[in-house]
């Protein structure tokens, strides 16, 4: 009798410990995000941000989950569409944190969206490891919201790198000093063109044309004819994707082929190469990649999991932001957001882009200027190991 009872007790204990073990195994970390799946921001979010969120979650779960002190924890995802509306994004993040009780929230796409939700992240003490929030004011904002991060750098960095690149070309006797600038008339275009104007004057470049155009503009022929009339050596457009896609065709039509042809957001998108093929060759833009083994592996995985190619500017940085977040979580070993934010501010992370450090919550060592060379958008600036030499003058448009 006695042995039978002890056997029973043992059995129950074994079952309980098994149950406990399986519970520890199935523990999940809840991650939520609000992203623009419809509306005007859906393009940027759909190319840059959402595929990387999905890729990362898939990869972490395939590796058995996040390694916490209590064991591995798989990621479960809560995903909302903010319909490109900041109010909706704020409501979504609030709901993710207070009702869905997510352990972490991933940031939305775009500067305006990230600024809108920043107070919510900060109030609840959630890290906002944002990528697509490009603003000169970021260092100020970080003082107000210590949980706010920005991984794409500052607009002035890009403008100064471009001015420096052109100055070097002038000094090397490869182009003249005449530069024409057009920009889209909104925050992004004004901030970048303003910073570029200051940097160009400092570097001794001559601005022979400087003109804004309304966002969404698509008939560039007459504008480019006017630019062509000033015969610049370098053409710089701080443009948005639809405009970026329209500009080379219009330039080819009016026969405008300056030695340097620089375009804004969208130059690094896979659709740009798909649309222009050999004509993309030599066109410069924001971002750039070092086509090494790490990049190729990332490219392959991105293609396999999301069925599309990453862009060559913010996509790898978005992936890197998640790599850093993962390391920070695993190093702390539990969901302690305060400690994780502190670690993100201090630590150096080993990532796809090499060592990543967030100085004052900003990643300042991103690739800034790239160029299509041999079918890849390679990095030119800043000048450091990995960067390639610019091909100037750009080849003529072939019909």
């Amino acid at each position: 009798m006695k042995t039978r009872r002890s056997f029973l007790v043992q059995g129950v204990a074994a079952a309980a410990s098994l149950l406990a073990a399986s519970q520890a195994q199935t523990r999940t970390v809840r991650i939520g995000y609000s992203i623009s799946k419809t509306g005007p921001y859906a393009t940027g979010a759909g190319i840059t941000t959402l595929p990387n969120y999905r890729l990362w979650v898939e990869e972490v779960n395939a590796a058995g989950g996040l390694k916490l002190a209590t064991g591995s924890a798989r990621i479960s995802v809560v995903e909302y569409d903010d319909r490109s509306s900041p109010e909706e994004a704020i409501r979504n993040i609030e709901r993710l944190i207070t009702q869905d009780k997510v352990d972490f929230a991933l940031p939305p796409w775009g500067t305006a969206m990230n600024l809108a939700v920043a107070p919510v992240f900060a109030r609840h003490g959630y890290p906002q490891v944002a990528v697509t929030n490009l603003s000169e004011k970021t260092p100020e904002l970080v003082r107000r919201w210590p949980s706010y991060f920005s991984l794409l750098g500052l607009p002035s960095q890009y403008a100064e790198a471009l001015a420096l690149l052109l100055r070097n070309l002038v000094a090397g006797g490869r182009i003249g000093r005449r530069v024409a600038v057009v920009h889209t008339d909104d925050e992004f275009g004004l901030e970048l063109s303003g910073a570029f104007r200051r940097a160009a004057q400092k570097e001794g470049l001559e601005l022979v044309y400087f003109q804004g155009y309304p966002a969404g503009f698509s008939d560039f022929q007459s504008l480019l004819n006017a630019v062509k009339g000033r015969s610049p050596d370098a053409f710089v457009a701080f443009s948005y994707p639809a405009e970026t896609l329209a500009l080379p065709e219009a330039a080819a039509v009016v026969g405008f082929n300056p030695a340097v042809f620089f375009l804004g957001v969208g130059t690094a998108f896979p659709i740009f190469r798909q649309r222009y093929g050999a004509n993309a060759e030599g066109i410069m833009g924001l971002g750039g990649v070092v086509p090494n083994q790490a990049w190729r592996t990332y490219l392959e995985r991105h293609r396999a999991v999301t069925n599309q190619e990453p862009d060559r500017w913010a996509s790898p940085v978005t992936y890197v932001s998640l790599q850093a977040l993962r390391v920070a979580i695993e190093r702390i070993g539990k969901i302690d957001r305060f400690q994780i934010i502190r670690l993100l501010r201090q630590e150096t992370f080993d990532t796809l882009l090499g060592p990543l450090q967030l100085e004052g919550n900003v990643f300042r060592s991103n690739w800034l200027i790239g160029q299509w060379q041999g079918g890849e958008f390679v990095a030119l600036m800043p000048e450091r190991p990995g960067a390639l030499a610019p091909r100037v003058p750009k080849p003529t448009w072939n019909r």
Binding site: G39, Q221, N225, A226, A242, V253, G266
Partner: protein, 237 residues
């Protein structure tokens, strides 16, 4: 030089927007339906053209013949099954009915946008077709814009001819001006309005095909085109 440039690009853009507005006007003016999902049809046709061109190398010129007929058929069914039961056989519209119709098209617009977002995500659709320049005296224009302008002008002129010179056209105009009285003189008003709605959808699809040859489209660009068509119709009224 720059003024001539501006005039020319303005005229060319005007031609395509004219076509865009013509389809919208057919649906609103004759079938009395303020179709807020009109832009979604335009975008759907444009994106389909881009996908056919990239996937199967099907020329947009072929798409220009195929897609408008398909879209006209789709709009025909839409009108018969969805809108006509709301409008009623006498085509008498009061404020309440009109409000319901607008809400219905609004919902339809969201439905199509949601479907496109789910299927295609936030991609951009853009391709190179007839991008080379054509010299027009002092200035040059891309061939694709010139083609779009030519086709748009031809279609608008054709519509004008039909409306002014044929018995059918007179009936349509009567219907658009006095829907109730037109019933009294034996105009088959419901049938005619269904046809006008279908035709409007077809014209919108043609505008979408032409636009896609030089304009980058996203699944979210629908409302932009509805708005543009609406503005042209209001200004031109």
């Amino acid at each position: 030089m720059s003024i001539l440039d501006a005039l020319l690009t303005g005229a060319i853009a005007g031609g395509v927007y004219g076509l865009l507005a013509l389809g919208f006007a057919l649906q609103y003016g004759i079938a009395r339906i303020l179709n807020l999902a009109y832009g979604e049809g335009v975008v759907l046709a444009g994106i389909t053209t881009a996908l056919l061109y990239q996937g199967l190398s099907l020329s947009p010129l072929i798409a220009l013949f195929v897609l408008p007929s398909l879209f006209a058929l789709g709009n025909f069914l839409l009108h018969r099954l969805l809108f006509l039961p709301l409008v009623g056989r006498t085509l008498a519209l009061d404020g309440e009915k009109e409000g319901r119709l607008i809400l219905l098209t609004f919902g339809l617009s969201f439905l199509i946008q949601g479907f496109l977002a789910a299927e295609l995500g936030g991609q951009l659709f853009s391709y190179s077709y007839l991008g080379q320049g054509v010299s027009l005296g002092a200035t040059t224009v891309a061939l694709n814009r010139l083609l779009a302008f030519g086709v748009a002008l031809a279609l608008v002129a054709l519509a004008h001819l039909v409306f002014t010179c044929t018995r059918l056209g007179i009936a349509v105009r009567a219907l658009s001006r006095e829907p109730e009285e037109s019933l009294l003189v034996g105009i088959p008003a419901t049938r005619l309005s269904t046809w006008a709605f279908a035709l409007g959808g077809g014209v919108g699809a043609a505008a979408g095909v032409l636009l896609s040859t030089f304009h980058a489209l996203t699944p979210a660009s629908g409302p932009e085109f509805t708005l543009k068509a609406l503005v042209v119709v209001i200004l031109g009224d």
